[in-house]
């Protein structure tokens, strides 16, 4: 097992491509992604409705080294500022098979 950072990013669905690109740019070669997630924050309620996914959240979970994490976090910051959402970073150990 190896020490890594666990990064959890909650953003609105339209930002999916942007975050995917930022993860790649940070040199991270994997992520896990959940769709159709609800939430509440300063920008009000986000709930899935039957019309579009524009007001749903998505959640990225990323395991990465400290350096990669620093790069990703800097990339994500302005997105969160513009369009809302959160980014949590915690310590974890990664079972390297």
């Amino acid at each position: 097992m190896r020490d890594v950072k666990r990064i959890e990013i909650v953003v609105e669905a339209p930002q999916e491509e942007v975050i995917r690109q930022l993860i790649e740019d940070a040199g991270i070669d994997g992520f896990t992604l959940m769709h159709a997630v609800a939430g509440r924050g300063q920008r009000g309620d986000r709930t899935s409705d039957g019309l579009s996914s524009a007001f749903q959240n998505i959640v990225f979970v990323v395991a990465a080294t400290a350096d990669q994490t620093a790069a990703l976090v800097e990339g994500v910051r302005p997105i969160l500022k513009r369009t809302g959402g959160i980014c949590l970073v915690s310590d974890a150990r990664w079972l390297k098979h």
Binding site: R43, G50, L51, S53, A54, P78, K81, R82, T83
Partner: protein
């Protein structure tokens, strides 16, 4: 008008609103609601394409398309300048794009109204609808860029991705499915059309009922968000539809459209987007507040058009003496 009030789709809309008001947990599963809206687009597209193929490309067709595009380019302009003072530039641009664009469900309800009234309409009006989404989005973004005021400071705002915006505007799912289905409807022969008709035609009205139930649920939920918005947006959301529809009827009259096509043009002009435009704006103009432009179009303008607008515009069209034709 009473007759329209008592049509099944309108009643299901009311049922949806009522469910939310009494806080019932009724809801249409989201993937199904999403599919029903695709179904409505595909159906109206195929039928429109089929009718256009039967009728052929006439000068009427071009006139209708031109009028529609003109409306979607112009409407954002005055909307923007009317609202800029009270809402700020960014939000005004969001509302402008919203009202320059259209509501496909309102259009569908209007075709169902015409079917019931026994009045025909041209399949090209479906194309007209599809052509109205993109220009409005582009106009909204342009206006926000040319007349900035407030909003985040320039350095935090990344340069606009015009390529992405145009792709989003031109190939958004609704536009793409609509135009694609139209082309398919024009391509397949009558035998093939007969084969798909039990799917695209027979259940249409019933699906519309289900979808308006969902719309009622959503509209009632969104209504609360308008509390914070003040009186201005409320008034605009109710006054803009008949104003824009009147303009569309005038245009229809001046270019001599048939009554059915004129009603559809009025509905396109008078309606506002709550699907395609919000999705595009979240990407290209995220500073505009979606809790403003979505509830305006979804919770006020949409029900206004469906309940009052359609019969009202129809009455106006008959008053100015546009001639209806039987169903094609």
């Amino acid at each position: 008008m009473l007759e329209n009030l008592l049509s099944a789709p309108v009643l299901f809309f009311a049922l949806g609103v009522a469910a939310r008001l009494v806080r019932s947990d009724l809801e249409i599963p989201q993937p199904v609601a999403r599919f029903l809206s695709l179904y409505l687009l595909l159906s109206i597209g195929i039928k429109g394409g089929h009718e256009l193929h039967e009728a052929g490309l006439t000068s009427d067709v071009l006139a209708g398309l031109g009028a529609a595009v003109a409306l979607s380019v112009m409407t954002p302009v005055w909307t923007f300048f009317l609202l800029r003072r009270s809402l700020g530039s960014t939000n005004a641009a969001g509302v402008a794009a919203t009202y320059g664009s259209i509501s496909a469900v309102t259009f569908v309800v209007a075709t169902s109204f015409l079917d019931q009234t026994g009045v025909g309409y041209g399949g090209h009006m479906v194309a007209a609808m599809a052509l109205m989404e993109s220009p409005a989005i582009v106009m909204g973004i342009l206006l926000a860029q040319r007349f900035p005021a407030g909003g985040p400071s320039p350095e935090t705002r990344p340069p606009l991705d015009w390529g992405g915006l145009l792709r989003e505007a031109a190939f958004n799912p609704a536009v793409f499915l609509l135009l694609g289905s139209m082309v398919i409807g024009m391509t397949i022969g009558p035998a093939e059309f007969l084969d798909v008709a039990p799917f695209v035609s027979s259940p249409f009205k019933g699906v519309l009922c289900f979808f308006l139930l969902e719309m009622g649920l959503l509209a009632a939920r969104r209504l609360r968000e308008l509390h914070a918005a003040g009186l201005g947006p409320l008034v605009f959301a109710i006054v803009a539809p008949p104003a824009h529809a009147a303009l569309a009827i005038g245009l229809a009259w001046s270019i001599g459209l048939d009554a059915g096509d004129a009603l559809l043009l009025a509905v396109l002009g008078g309606s506002a987007s709550y699907i395609a435009v919000p999705a595009a704006l979240r990407l290209s103009l995220p500073e505009a507040n979606p809790s403003l432009y979505v509830p305006m179009s979804l919770a006020l303008t949409f029900p206004f058009n469906v309940i009052i607008g359609i019969p009202l515009y129809w009455w106006a069209i008959q008053s100015v003496g546009l001639a209806g034709v039987g169903p094609y």
